[in-house]
Symmetry: C2
Subunit: 434 residues, 2 copies
């Protein structure tokens, strides 16, 4: 099947930063086979499904590298509480009640929200009903990295049981759904997984050839307690046990770190999922993205769950990431506009270790979105990259394609029943709160 999207402004995000003001892309078997300016030749268009983009902006799909969609029913359930109280008195009691139906409703809701706001790929780190979700992701047509996260504050037997579950899931789903689903192993965090258990998981990941995802240095208190217990920062402990090298790490947050910790991560080609809005909302703090970049860390963007964000809109995440670094460093040119857009696209693909993803180039997976530029907030319209970072909204997205297949066309979802899903989300939360 050959698809041509023509009459688009194509923002390729390639290294040369090419933008075709008036161009087209050709997709065959889910992969870009041509990106050109001008109009496609009549010859080339023969037998192809030709879509007129009508001057929309076409760019890579956005990539969300940290989240827990299973929690999405908890959006706004309690907002003005310190983290410990929020978790202990509100989130955990509700989480205890989460059953298959509630988790499914939460995740379908999140997929609607993500597709509508231009996210084509996301990471899910959670412990409940992953197989069902993998099947749902496959059906919805999205791309995802899924993992069963484990908390190790339990007996050795339970630890092994959880790891076996994680591994089983990872083996069943890694590179499935035509390569759209990948997996990782995921110790929850240094403060919830004793060092021996993390070591055990990392070894398993190395054997299986899987990356490892873990929360890292999210709050000041967590680091303070960790130093009390282990006499060093968790990054130092990972280094001491030689767990950084030879492992494809993706850390979430990385807020409370010193320069030498960023340096260590950079030296080991670790990636970080920067979650600026969640870190702000929970009062966790602000990660030093400029330092991460300096040390060669691949900085990507995550929303975290909507319980602490409270949205899954990567345009906002991108904007917040860039703006924050300028504000806290009092320097207007410290993280560039281009770098912001890159974090949400190409760097996201790198962080999740998806090959051939994140740019509009020949040979790349055809995951892309289109936006309607006929909006006051995107005018004057000549500065597309600036507008995508500083002015665009998720709601500007009109079309979403993954592997060349449309998931949304002119704002109409094609693989998910939005009306039913919104209704079900309300009903499931009502049931949980009874």
């Amino acid at each position: 099947m050959k698809t041509i999207i023509k009459n688009a402004k194509v923002i390729t995000m390639n290294e040369a930063r090419t933008i075709h003001e008036h161009g087209y892309v050709v997709i065959e078997d889910g992969v870009f086979t041509a990106i050109e300016h001008g109009e496609p030749a009549e010859e080339a268009a023969k037998g192809a499904n030709v879509v007129n983009a009508d001057k929309k902006w076409l760019m890579p799909g956005l990539i969300n590298t940290h989240g827990h969609t299973g929690m999405s029913l908890f959006r706004g359930v309690s907002d003005d509480l310190p983290l410990s109280k929020w978790l202990a008195e509100h989130i955990w009691p509700l989480e205890q009640k989460l059953d298959q139906k509630a988790v499914e409703a939460a995740r379908l809701l999140s997929m609607v929200e993500m597709i509508e706001s231009g996210t084509t790929t996301f990471l899910e780190m959670y412990h409940l009903h992953l197989d069902d979700f993998a099947a749902a992701v496959e059906e919805a047509g999205m791309r995802a990295t899924l993992m069963r996260s484990v908390i190790g504050l339990c007996s050795k037997e339970e630890q092994e049981e959880k790891l076996a579950e994680s591994l089983g899931f990872a083996r069943r789903w890694h590179k499935q759904a035509n390569g759209r689903i990948q997996t990782m192993l995921a110790p929850h965090a240094p403060y919830t997984c004793p060092p021996d258990y993390i070591e055990r998981i990392v070894e398993a990941a190395r054997q299986e050839g899987l990356p490892v995802h873990m929360h890292l240095a999210e709050t000041r208190k967590e680091i303070h307690d960790y130093m009390d217990e282990y006499g060093m920062h968790p990054v130092e402990l990972l280094q001491e046990r030689d767990l950084l090298s030879g492992t494809e790490w993706l850390f979430a947050h990385g807020v409370h770190m010193h320069e030498q910790h960023y340096e260590l991560l950079g030296a080991h080609q670790a990636a970080v999922s920067h979650n600026p809005k969640s870190n702000l909302k929970l009062g966790s703090g602000i990660a030093q993205v400029a330092s991460m970049q300096k040390h060669g860390i691949v900085v990507s963007l995550g929303t975290d769950s909507v319980a602490s964000n409270n949205a899954l809109d990567l345009f906002e995440e991108m904007r917040t990431a860039v703006l924050l670094q300028r504000g806290i460093n009092e320097q207007a040119d410290i993280v560039t506009t281009w770098e912001g857009l890159n974090m949400a696209t190409s760097n996201g693909a790198k962080a999740l270790r998806f090959a051939n993803l994140g740019t509009i180039e020949v040979g790349q997976q055809a995951d892309f979105i289109m936006l309607n530029p006929e909006q006051a907030h995107l005018h004057p319209s000549s500065q597309a990259v600036s507008h995508l970072v500083f002015a665009a909204k998720g709601s500007d997205v009109t079309d979403v394609y993954v592997q060349g297949a449309p998931l949304m066309k002119d704002k109409q979802l094609l693989t998910l029943d939005k009306e039913r899903i919104l209704k079900e989300a309300n009903e499931q939360l009502r049931r949980l709160q009874q």
Copy 2:
């Protein structure tokens, strides 16, 4: 003329924080005459224009207390530069070329953007073509505080001329357009207006009964230079000359201030327009909103111009304001969700000294907006106030009313020709850049 909006979720923002899950509002002569839950009685609806809100959320219109819409063609014109270079090499040369047509195009564009994202009232501080704009605001049906800002780095004669111009404009337009237009006097900033000139303007404002608007303590460098020149912080100088008392002040920014400066402003009932996104983007820093609140300052929200934002979406401004304070103070409950929404509504009205504005209550001006809650990012939908602050987008706004008159209905603008205005914005920028 009597209008009833029924079948709405009414978020009144009154002191009791009343929300009618299913309610209606009655408007007569541009003023709310009833706000109730349930359905209006048949009797009451007789002869009225009854609008079915279809379960939309109805809330006060948003109020933007600092901006320069005359600069809106410069959105994204240069983003990755330090303030001084950005101004000197990009903005000022373009600003030199701004003529009546370009400024008009910029401002019409901004009115479209503001109405579409739920702003009903805004402040404009600029030096060009104010009378034309006042007429355009009146025609568009918006509410605004307009002022001719003055820079005093010139001869005494020129200073007097500029002040006379400002006063002339203020007298012509104060409380015009059925009270929808108010004016202020506006010395640009302490670093561009010598103390004597500020004193002269403040005296004129006191005589005329006009409030005064001024940029204050936006950048670290500006304060550093000021201290070098005058040996004290500008707030201290205003206090020393007794210019704080007896004057209705609205300051923009207030980033580089110490506790005692916030205390002084609070003691004199000053209002501040907090512009978090602009302050971040230009690398200016982060204002201490929590300190402002502690000292009783009325904190409202402003976008500043789109050249340094780059949008006029107060939902984002509100969200950024609340999130930032939590992040920099590492405290999740320091500025509450409610306070965030209040800054963008009721406090905005107080900052601009509009009487009877900013809440949905009997006797208040009927400036309100409606949002479509049938969106994934607003589900589960039970936590409306939380969602308005943390998840809503300007694009969720479907209906906008000022003084009971509709400016937008079901996303259709009624007083402005959007298509023509977007086209004109592009054309005018192209002309300026030639």
